[in-house]
């Protein structure tokens, strides 16, 4: 198999404060991989470094065998990284439709059919497509953020705590849809999460993170093992 993403020994943080260090992961095409860990151990910092909002001070990132270490955030998006930010990060005064249009920028096919695709996944968004995103509920905002990333037709979907602050039934719905997209389109998914249910449901493989670095890898059946996951989440 080909590694679609390879992260080698990156070091990153805010200003002089180093949050992520000696960080290594490798993801193969078509996988759904999660990174788990408690709050405040650098999961989001890693994701921001991966998508290019934060510069990595050391190490390298390869995406589709291209070195993107020094590539700017918008060019990383163009190369096929779709991003769902923590707290959803929708543009509050843009309408649902406009939010989707910003996501569509990087879709080289440029067809609006994708809108119907995501509206089919999340019918609530179709009903509210003319509404300002800031007026949506938390679950709807999460759905919108995911849809916005999907309409860009990315090769890799990166989600930063997609279920933060949303109801369990929507969590299930979202995980079903992501799994389905993964199966339908062969989309590679990397997500960061602390919600054990979602981790169990979705991930095929799982990295455990603590103190800014990867401390373990959970594979195969262990991914479904509540006790093992819990151990990593509540060190």
């Amino acid at each position: 198999m080909i590694a679609i993403l390879k992260v080698n020994n990156i070091v990153s943080g805010y200003g002089k404060v180093i949050v992520v260090r000696d960080f290594n992961i490798e993801i193969e095409k078509g996988e759904i991989v999660s990174i788990i860990g408690r709050n405040g151990i650098g999961k989001s910092t890693f994701v921001k470094t991966l998508v290019g909002i934060l510069p990595n001070k050391e190490g390298s990132i390869f995406f589709k065998e291209q070195d993107i270490t020094n590539v700017k955030a918008h060019e990383r998006a163009w190369s096929g990284i779709g991003y769902v930010p923590q707290g959803h990060g929708v543009f509050p005064t843009l309408t649902v439709e406009e939010n989707l249009m910003t996501g569509q920028l990087i879709n080289k096919k440029k067809s609006n059919l994708d809108f119907n695709l995501v509206y089919d996944y999340f019918p609530r968004l179709r009903e509210r497509k003319k509404q300002k995103a800031g007026t949506l509920s938390g679950g709807e905002q999460a759905a919108l953020a995911i849809s916005r990333a999907l309409v860009g037709n990315p090769d890799l979907l990166v989600l930063d705590e997609p279920t933060e602050g949303i109801q369990p039934n929507i969590v299930h719905h979202i995980s079903d849809i992501i799994t389905k997209i993964n199966q339908d389109l062969g989309l590679t998914v990397l997500f960061v999460e602390q919600h054990i249910g979602l981790i169990q449901q979705m991930s095929q493989r799982c990295y455990a993170m603590d103190k800014g670095t990867i401390v373990g890898e959970i594979q195969n059946e262990e991914v479904k093992n509540y006790e093992i996951l819990k151990r990593y989440l509540a060190v």
Binding site: A73, R76, A77, Y83, T102, L105, K132
Partner: protein, 291 residues
């Protein structure tokens, strides 16, 4: 008579405020940069128009040339200087102050203290026994059309969509594949081009000199302050309100009170609504839809 008079006054004030402010508003609203060289950008537009008409270019074309020329100039300034200051509002004050000094003195050195102006075109029309300058009335409609075009540009084009996204959350917009630095450059260029357009439009009605821009600076700042960050909603609303205040005070008590009135309204508005009219409107909009 009085009612026509008042309408004409308002049209005049409104177009003057809108046209002075719109370039400044776009740059301030989108980029958070206070462009103290705004007046000089307008002056540059006036020079381009006047020089072009003097060499035989028809006025409408000369005005467009001013917009294009100042736009390109803005782009150069942005690439050389401003792009290093994105997000540093206060440093931009110092730098644009320096730019304005260089521009007004540079123009004085090159073209001398004054330029032969061209006359205002289009003559005048009579309504109810009083005559009004047709060009001035035209300026009002140009201001309205320009607001329309800006509305279309920001609300119905890809450029507008991406720039609104950038304005709201530039990090996230960046990760959506939007080259935010390029958006900022284009925005600065657009703001400069609009300043150039304003200079071109007013060149035939005013004395053209290196200090041409200073007449615009105060009204433009007041309009932007009252309007707030949203260059469209804010500017048109504040242009409207200030236009009414200015016209009424002007007619009742004279030019000085019209001018002072602008400043007082600005102080009151910013005290009550620190985010200006656009802050108020956006809040209402979010709440209205939310329920």
């Amino acid at each position: 008579m009085a009612i026509f008079e008042l309408i004409y006054q308002f049209m005049n004030n409104f177009s003057f405020l809108i046209l002075s402010a719109v370039g400044l508003a776009i740059i301030f609203g989108m980029m958070g940069i206070i462009n103290l060289a705004h007046g000089e950008f307008i002056m540059l537009g006036a020079y381009i128009t006047t020089l072009a008409t003097a060499s035989g270019v028809p006025l409408p074309l000369a005005i467009l040339l001013a917009a294009a020329g100042v736009g390109v100039f803005g782009l150069i300034v942005d690439r050389l200087i401003i792009n290093r200051l994105y997000g540093r509002t206060l440093d931009s004050v110092v730098v644009t102050w320096g730019i304005s000094m260089i521009l007004s003195q540079g123009i004085l050195i090159i073209f001398g203290p004054s330029l032969e102006g061209s006359s205002t075109p289009l003559g005048s029309i009579s309504i109810a026994g009083a005559t009004y300058s047709t060009y001035r009335i035209l300026l009002f409609f140009i201001a309205i059309v320009m607001l329309g075009i800006i509305y279309w540009l920001f609300m119905h084009t890809k450029f507008g969509l991406y720039s609104r996204a950038t304005m709201q959350k530039h990090d996230i917009a960046n990760t959506m594949g939007i080259n935010t630095n390029k958006m900022y450059s284009l925005t600065f260029m657009l703001g400069a081009a609009l300043a150039g357009l304003t200079g071109g439009l007013y060149a035939p009605t005013m004395a053209v000199s290196p200090t041409f821009g200073s007449a615009f600076l105060m009204p433009s700042f007041v309009t932007v302050i009252v309007g707030g960050a949203n260059p469209l909603i804010g500017t048109s609303l504040s242009g409207g309100v200030l236009g009414v205040v200015n016209s009424i005070l002007d007619i009742l008590w004279g030019t000085f009170y019209g001018r002072l009135g602008l400043l007082v309204v600005a102080i009151i508005v910013i005290r009550l609504l620190p985010l200006g009219f656009s802050g108020l409107v956006e809040k209402k909009l979010m709440r209205g839809r939310g329920i």
